[in-house]
Structures are given as structure tokens and as C-alpha cells.
């Protein structure tokens, strides 16, 4: 099978490689790297710049940054994926029903969604996290709820568009029940948008987790996430900037990879590329 054109250029390839690499690290690193390599404190080597012993330097407690950042991938990716999954589980049915049924249901549901969209996502996530009490699970819930309206809106738009396509009308006259229509005709045609939006949401979720943890309202020690690492480095920016740069670069690479991949995905799944002969 030929690789779709959108992925044959460098942006798509680089994005795909980055995403794959980060995923690999997130899944495999906890299996290969024993916990104490990342938590072992060596006070004599604290805040040391990159050396042979510690290729990416150490933090203020003498912990090796390379291992911490590799293990941090697992936490950050897990939180981000769970949050996006949650937003899909809530937002997909919401948007689908709204777009398919239309009229009053659509008006009411979208009015609610628009209200939620007036709250900046980060603010909503921070508030939910603060009220629930910040920890790993609540971070997932907070980010998940904050992202749901964006996904719901986009899915509603797609569901609306697809519901009015002639093939859906034809399927109706072919005797399909509402359930079959939704499952066999509408859902497959909104999946491309869902996939692209999920990829982009994933990128934002990583950024959101970093932001929440940076402010102390996300993951808490001893869970090591990248945001927490950056937060810890705040007091040492002058003496040891690499303590911020290492986790920051990890976030940047992941988000960059996801954005590139998402862009290429969007181009590859563009419905306009289907149907031309």
C-alpha cells in the first residue's frame, strides 16, 4: 500500500517519527529503566551540567535528568491520552446526537457547549483541579472536561454536514434505521475529523498538563511529569538552566511531533482528496 501523499514529504515523516519515538519511550521506558535510577539522589553531583555520568545533567536533588525525563514521558503521555480519551467518550456522542438530530436538541446542547467555550480551557482545568484536589487522576479529569466542548463542537459540525449528504438520504430510503444510519454511514465519515482533532488535542493536553503541573495544580511529587520538572527548576534558572531546558525540550518535541503529524493527517484525510478522478 502506497503511503498517502501527505506523508511523503518531510513534515509528515518527521512528525510520524517523533510521535512514534515518544510513544515508544512512554511505553517501554518504565519497563527498562528501574525507578531508582531516576529517584536516586546524589547530593555531591547536584545541579551539575551534562557530563559523561549524567548526559543531560542533574537537578537540585542530584537526580539524573535523562532518566527522569524518559520516565516522565510515561506520566505525561498517559495523562494526556487519558484526558483526550475522556473528552472523546463524552464529546463524541454529544456532538453526534446534536448534529444528527438537530433543531431544539442541537440548539440547547450547543448553547451549553458555547457557554463552556467562554471559559479558557486552562482556567477551567485549573479550577476543576483546584476544587477536586490536585493529583494524577484529577488532572486527567480536569483536562478531559476542559477539552470536551472543543471536541463536541467540531464533531457536531461534522455530524451536521454529513447528515445532509445525499448518501445519508439514500441510505434512509434504503430502509436503514436511525441506529444503522449513525453507525454505518455517519460515524465512519466523521472519523477522519475525530482522528485529526484528537491528535491536535493530544498536543494541547501535553501542554495543559505541563502548565497545570508548573503551577502546582497538576501532578504532585513523587509522580514525575515534565511539567513538574519545569516547576521544580524555577528557582535554579540562573545557575542551572538545563534543569528547565531538558524537560521543556521534551515537551516541545512531543508537541511539535504531534502537530506535524496532525497536519499531515489532516491533509491525508481531507475529504476533497477523495472523489476526484
Amino acid at each position: 500500500m502506497k503511503l498517502p501523499a501527505a506523508f511523503r514529504n518531510s513534515k509528515g515523516m518527521i512528525g510520524a517519527v517523533l510521535v512514534l519515538a515518544i510513544l515508544l519511550v512512554a511505553v517501554i521506558a518504565p519497563m527498562l529503566i528501574p525507578d531508582d535510577w531516576a529517584t536516586r539522589m546524589d547530593m555531591r553531583a547536584r545541579l551539575s551540567p551534562p557530563t559523561w555520568a549524567h548526559p543531560l545533567g542533574t537537578d537540585q536533588l542530584g537526580r539524573d535528568l535523562m532518566y527522569r525525563v524518559l520516565l516522565g514521558a510515561h506520566t505525561s503521555v498517559f495523562i494526556a491520552s487519558s484526558a483526550v480519551l475522556m473528552s472523546i467518550v463524552i464529546g463524541l456522542p454529544l456532538g453526534l446526537i446534536s448534529g444528527y438530530v438537530g433543531r431544539m436538541t442541537d440548539n440547547v446542547l450547543m448553547r451549553l457547549v458555547d457557554t463552556l467555550l467562554s471559559f479558557p480551557a486552562l482556567l477551567l482545568a485549573l479550577t476543576i483541579s483546584a476544587v477536586l484536589g490536585p493529583n494524577l487522576q484529577n488532572t486527567i479529569i480536569a483536562i478531559g472536561i476542559a477539552f470536551t466542548p472543543y471536541l463536541a463542537r467540531i464533531i457536531r459540525g461534522e455530524a451536521l454536514r454529513v447528515s445532509h449528504m445525499p448518501y445519508v438520504e439514500a441510505a434512509r430510503t434504503a430502509g436503514n434505521s436511525d441506529r444503522r444510519l449513525i453507525v454505518r454511514h455517519i460515524l465512519p465519515n466523521i472519523m477522519p475529523a475525530v482522528i485529526v482533532q484528537s491528535t491536535i488535542s493530544l498536543a494541547f493536553a501535553i501542554l495543559a498538563e505541563a502548565g497545570l503541573s508548573f503551577l502546582g495544580l497538576g501532578t504532585q511529587p513523587p509522580d514525575a511529569s515534565w511539567g513538574l520538572m519545569i516547576q521544580a527548576s524555577r528557582d535554579y534558572l540562573d545557575r542551572a538552566p538545563w534543569t528547565a531546558l531538558v524537560p521543556g525540550a521534551a515537551v516541545a518535541l512531543t508537541v511539535l511531533g504531534l502537530n506535524m503529524f496532525g497536519d499531515a493527517l489532516r491533509d491525508a484525510l481531507d475529504p476533497r482528496s477523495k472523489g476526484a478522478s
Partner: protein, 611 residues
């Protein structure tokens, strides 16, 4: 002064390429022809023939779309001698475009900048090429609007494009192209997106302007009837190559190339069904001869009885988005379709023919009226029974690209109605589908394919197969062939007629194309502003139209015969009024005169007339 012996334009061995995924795509190759001063040359071809690319190359606009002229010369005669446009520098081209060569395009709805006034768009070309001041440019713009016979020209200048109708916008675009009195007007499918009456107006306008100014016209089209009416010489293109060229009469009466002959055979000509009792498949070249032809039944039995059908759509607006008015899409329409026969509904855009078809199937809910299919009342069925009723009525939609689910295999889509209505299962299901594919003349290997792997015509065949799967009594074809190329259209029409002869299925054929309708119908109904203004047998309506609207519609249709030029001196049809009425407005019932048995004409005197 230009030498009238020398050609104005001489295209020599043109070759144009585009960048493709796997290497360059040749869009046009080895194309050579000339245009003499004051002559109209029509370039005709189906989609993919390269006709548009040729005209865009002349203006060097093809580069903006990713194309490149990789060979040939485009000699254009100017005051200073001839210039090869293919190798001219950008400044030269800019001074020629809009000044010595004007161009108009296909889509009037998007040809004008939505955020600029008409005045601004008409004058900026003038100010660039002629250096006119704002005042002088405005005066000239007014002159041009009058030249193209736009009503209330002063008012139009201050308006924005969205306030003008499609026909008026096209007039403005023509005025813009004429602003600097060009020697050549390139018209790229300028009437394809317009209604037949507006098309007639625009064609007569172009013809008049040509005679008044002596300019040459390069007219791109896919419509052989338009070619017959407009051309002095014809260039036929196919897949990027020039197939044949010559004077228009010769091309029509004595085509030399096979492709040209096949193309001409596929064009339905208005008037050639005179005296024939029933629809007749077209005699196509290069395709198998049609197997059978529909015959009118000795004793017609009614299948579909529509009585007083009315469908209105609400218009929302104002505070709280209340309903402030209604669109009277279908107003008191009644007709009958007999078993094994085809009734055509013709009319221009907005006349309600599509709404009528959709209301019969209840894809759109009618506001009032009754629809009986084989004596059972469709209009009073609940949702579940309606779904079962669709076993007997199916629809084929206009857009072959949008009427198939891009993510479902074709065999599955054809199988769905059979599965849902529990008509077949297992191996019997597979056999039924294979038979259906055979019937619509598609190879069985297509069954496992997806829609994007097929062409438009092939997709439409799949849609017909899907509609046939349940053996319906009635198929509603809503502009089912309008989006297809001429040769493909003819094949699909022949298929429909064969199916009718073999299976006895009735068709409600909705179309705006009079010539096609003449070919396929037993009876014809003409719609205007939601009402049926005339209905009768095909012979009655076509050979003896009574209602003023039917008459003006007939007079506007171009005839595919160069010896019968019907472009009259400045045609102006009354614009179609809006079917939007305030709430509670109750227009009267439709009353008809029976002019001859079965031939009904609306009494109220609605309809356009030639001014």
C-alpha cells in the same frame, strides 16, 4: 489597423503540463488552431479535454494554477506586430490582460469580490489600463452597464455582488471584460451555471457585442447546442489533444473523426422526437446498440397519483429567529404517473421540481396534499410504515460524488436495501448484487471497490443499481444525468430506457434540460414558481406549447443545428420572482384549462414572456 487576412491568434503546437504526484501530467499537447479577427471559435470537449487549460494558457493564467507551458507558440496580433504570448514577460501580459484580451469565467456567483462595490471592481481595470480619473472611470462603467443592458445601472454601481442575481453578475463580469474594448473575448463556459432563459440572454448579448465591436470570441463549452448557435468555427478536443477542427456546418453535417461522430450522436437535439410515439434510446457510436425501447401501454394504469401537493419551507429571521415568511416551494401540484411510463418535470432553478420529488418520497415533509402509490396513501404513513413504503419508490440523486458513502464498498451499498427489507440473504444476496452490476453494465470486479475509484458515470450506474435492488415500482431521478458528460449521459439515459422496457418501472424524471426530456419522457410537466403550469404528453407540450412560460422556455433552448440559428436580437426574459411570501398568505388553487385530452394549461396567467 489589423490586417484582416492575418489571424488574430495563432496557437501552434501548444503543450501544457502540471505537476503531479508521480511526475508531470500533460494536460494539453500538440494543439494548433487559429482565430481570425471578428470570428467566433468554439472549443468543445468533455471534462478532461483540456479546453479550459488552452484558454487559460492564452492569458498565461495557467501558471497561477500550477501549470507550465512547456512547448509551442501563442502568436497574438497587436498594433505593434505579433507577440508570442507563451514567452512574453509578466509586464507585457499584464498590459494585455483586461485590455486587448478580455476573459469571462463560468461561475458568476464567485466571480466578483464580495467585499468591494460593483463600481470599484469595474473601474479599477479602467484606471490601470487607461489611466482614467475616478470620475471618468465611473462614467465609463455606467456606459458599460448600459451596453450590457443591466436595469437600473446607477443603482447597481453602489451595490455589492451578493445583491445581484446570477444572470446580472454575469452581465457585470462581461462588462468588466469589455471595458477596454478588447480584440478578443475568451469565454470559459460562461453559461454552464445559468438557467436556460438566462443562458439565452447571455448568448445573445455576447453575439451582439461581437457584432457591434468586431471582436473575436473564443468560446469554451461542453454543450454542442451552444456551439451550433454561436460558432463560426469549431475545435473539438479530447484528453488534451485536438481531434478535429473546421467550419461549424461541416463539423455538424460531415464530421470526419470517430470521436466527433460519437460526440454528436450523443447529443439530444430538440425537435428530433417529432412524430415518435414513445421514448427512444439514442443511437450511439462505439457503444452496443440498445436492447429495447419503452412502449406506451395500451391501457395506462395509474401508479402514482399526486393531488394538491403543497410544500412550504419556513424562513427564519428577526428577533428570536422566529418564522417570518415561507418559501412556497411547491404549490398545489397534481399529476398522475402510469405504470411503465416516464413523467418529466421540467423547469428552471427554484421552480420546485426537486422539492416536488423529495416531497413525494417524504424526504421533505409536504405541508398538505396527498400522494397515492398504487392506491396506498404515502402521506399518512407513520415513520415505520414509510420506511417499508420505500421498498416501492427509490431515488437517484444528482451528484454522483455525494450520493455514495465514501467509506463503504460498492457491493455493500447496493446490498443494503436488500438486507434492510429482508429480501435476500447469503448466497442469494451475492447473486442478486452480481446480477444488478451486470444489468447496469458494470464489471463485477467493481463490486469490491470504493466510490472514489470510479468515474462520475460509473458511480451513477451504481446509484441506479442500488435503486433497482428492491425492484421498485417508481424511481425518481432528480437531475440524475445533469452532472455527467454528454457521452456518459447518453449511455445512462439509454440504460434507464432499457430498464423501463424490461422491468416496467416508472420514472419521475426531474430535469432542466429540455432536449433530454424530449428523448426520455412519455408525459411532461412544466413547473414555474412552485406550480405546474402545463402538463400533457410529450408531443402535446413540445409541439404545441400553450402556456406563455412554456413557450418562452422552448424559445430559449439552443438547438444543436447550425442551420437553425435562433439567437434573436436582444432577448430579455422577465426575471423569476421570489417564491417567498409572508406568513398566512394563501395563494389561490391551481386551475387548469384542458386544451386537448390530457393536455392541461394553468389558467392564472403566471409566467414570463418575452419583452
Amino acid at each position: 489597423m489589423l490586417d484582416s487576412d492575418r489571424p488574430l491568434v495563432s496557437i501552434d503546437n501548444l503543450r501544457v503540463e502540471f505537476k503531479g504526484e508521480d511526475g508531470p501530467i500533460v494536460a494539453v499537447e500538440n494543439v494548433s488552431f487559429t482565430i481570425a479577427p471578428g470570428e467566433t471559435v468554439c472549443v468543445v470537449g468533455e471534462s478532461g479535454s483540456g479546453k479550459s487549460v488552452t484558454s487559460l494558457s492564452l492569458m498565461r493564467l495557467v501558471e497561477f494554477g500550477g501549470g507550465e507551458i512547456t512547448g509551442g507558440r501563442l502568436e497574438f496580433a497587436r498594433d505593434s506586430g505579433t507577440t508570442d504570448l507563451a514567452h512574453a514577460d509578466p509586464d507585457t501580459m499584464r498590459s494585455i490582460r483586461g485590455d486587448e484580451i478580455g476573459m469571462i469565467f463560468q461561475e458568476p456567483m464567485t466571480s466578483l469580490n464580495p467585499v468591494f462595490t460593483i463600481e470599484r471592481q469595474m473601474t479599477d481595470g479602467l484606471r490601470v489600463h487607461r489611466g482614467l480619473s475616478a470620475g471618468k472611470a465611473r462614467a465609463r462603467a455606467l456606459e458599460l452597464l448600459q451596453q450590457v443592458r443591466i436595469p437600473e445601472p446607477e443603482r447597481r454601481l453602489k451595490q455589492y455582488p451578493h445583491e445581484l442575481s446570477g444572470g446580472m453578475r454575469q452581465r457585470v463580469v462581461i462588462a468588466m471584460a469589455m471595458a477596454c474594448e478588447p480584440r478578443l473575448l475568451i469565454a470559459d463556459e460562461p453559461t454552464t451555471a445559468l438557467d436556460v432563459t438566462i443562458q439565452a440572454e447571455i448568448l445573445s448579448l455576447i453575439d451582439r457585442l461581437k457584432r457591434e465591436t468586431g471582436m473575436a470570441v473564443l468560446f469554451i463549452t461542453h454543450d454542442m447546442a451552444v456551439v451550433a448557435q454561436m460558432a463560426d468555427r469549431v475545435v473539438v478536443m479530447f484528453r488534451g489533444n485536438l481531434v478535429e477542427e473546421g467550419p461549424v456546418e461541416e463539423i455538424f453535417t460531415n464530421p470526419k473523426q470517430d470521436y466527433t461522430r460519437a460526440l454528436l450522436a450523443a447529443v439530444p437535439r430538440l425537435g428530433e422526437m417529432r412524430g415518435k410515439p414513445a421514448p427512444e434510446p439514442m443511437r450511439l457510436i462505439g457503444a452496443e446498440p440498445a436492447r429495447s425501447a419503452p412502449v406506451p401501454a395500451a391501457k395506462p394504469k395509474p401508479l402514482l397519483e399526486v393531488s394538491n401537493l403543497t410544500t412550504r419551507y419556513p424562513v427564519k429571521g428577526g428577533l428570536f429567529r422566529r418564522t417570518i415568511a415561507n418559501v412556497h416551494a411547491v404549490e398545489d401540484v397534481s399529476f398522475t404517473i402510469n405504470k411503465g411510463e416516464t413523467l418529466a418535470l421540467v423547469g428552471e432553478s427554484g421552480c420546485g421540481k426537486s422539492s416536488c420529488g423529495r416531497s413525494i418520497l417524504r424526504l421533505t415533509e409536504p405541508s398538505s396534499g396527498q400522494v397515492l402509490l398504487d392506491r396506498s396513501d404515502i402521506t399518512s404513513l407513520n415513520d415505520r410504515d414509510l420506511r417499508r413504503a420505500w421498498r416501492d419508490m427509490q431515488m437517484v440523486f444528482q451528484d454522483p460524488f455525494a450520493s455514495l458513502n465514501p467509506y463503504m464498498r460498492l457491493s455493500e451499498q447496493v446490498a443494503e436495501p436488500l438486507i434492510n427489507f429482508q429480501l435476500a440473504a447469503g448466497s442469494e444476496l451475492k447473486d442478486r448484487i452480481a446480477t444488478l452490476f451486470d444489468r447496469v453494465e458494470l464489471p463485477r470486479s467493481f463490486m469490491t471497490r470504493f466510490p472514489h475509484e470510479l468515474s462520475g458515470g460509473q458511480r451513477q450506474r451504481v446509484a441506479i443499481a442500488r435503486a433497482l435492488a428492491v425492484n421498485p415500482k417508481l424511481i425518481i431521478a432528480d437531475e440524475a444525468v445533469s452532472a455527467l458528460d454528454v457521452s456518459v449521459q447518453a449511455q445512462v439515459l439509454n440504460l434507464m430506457m432499457e430498464l423501463q422496457a424490461e422491468l416496467g418501472v416508472s420514472f419521475l424524471f426531474i430535469s432542466h434540460d429540455m432536449a433530454v426530456v424530449e428523448r426520455v419522457s412519455h408525459r411532461v410537466g412544466v413547473m414555474y414558481l412552485g406550480r405546474l403550469v402545463e402538463i400533457g404528453s410529450r408531443a402535446q407540450v413540445f409541439e404545441n406549447p400553450q402556456h406563455p412560460y412554456t413557450r418562452s422556455l422552448m424559445s430559449a433552448v439552443p438547438i444543436a443545428d447550425p442551420t437553425r440559428r435562433s439567437i434573436r436580437e436582444d432577448v430579455q426574459f422577465r426575471p423569476i420572482p421570489s417564491p417567498v411570501f409572508p406568513l398566512g398568505h394563501e395563494p389561490g388553487a391551481s386551475e387548469y384549462d384542458e386544451v386537448s385530452p390530457g393536455h392541461l394549461v394553468l389558467k392564472n396567467g403566471l409566467g414570463a414572456s418575452v419583452q
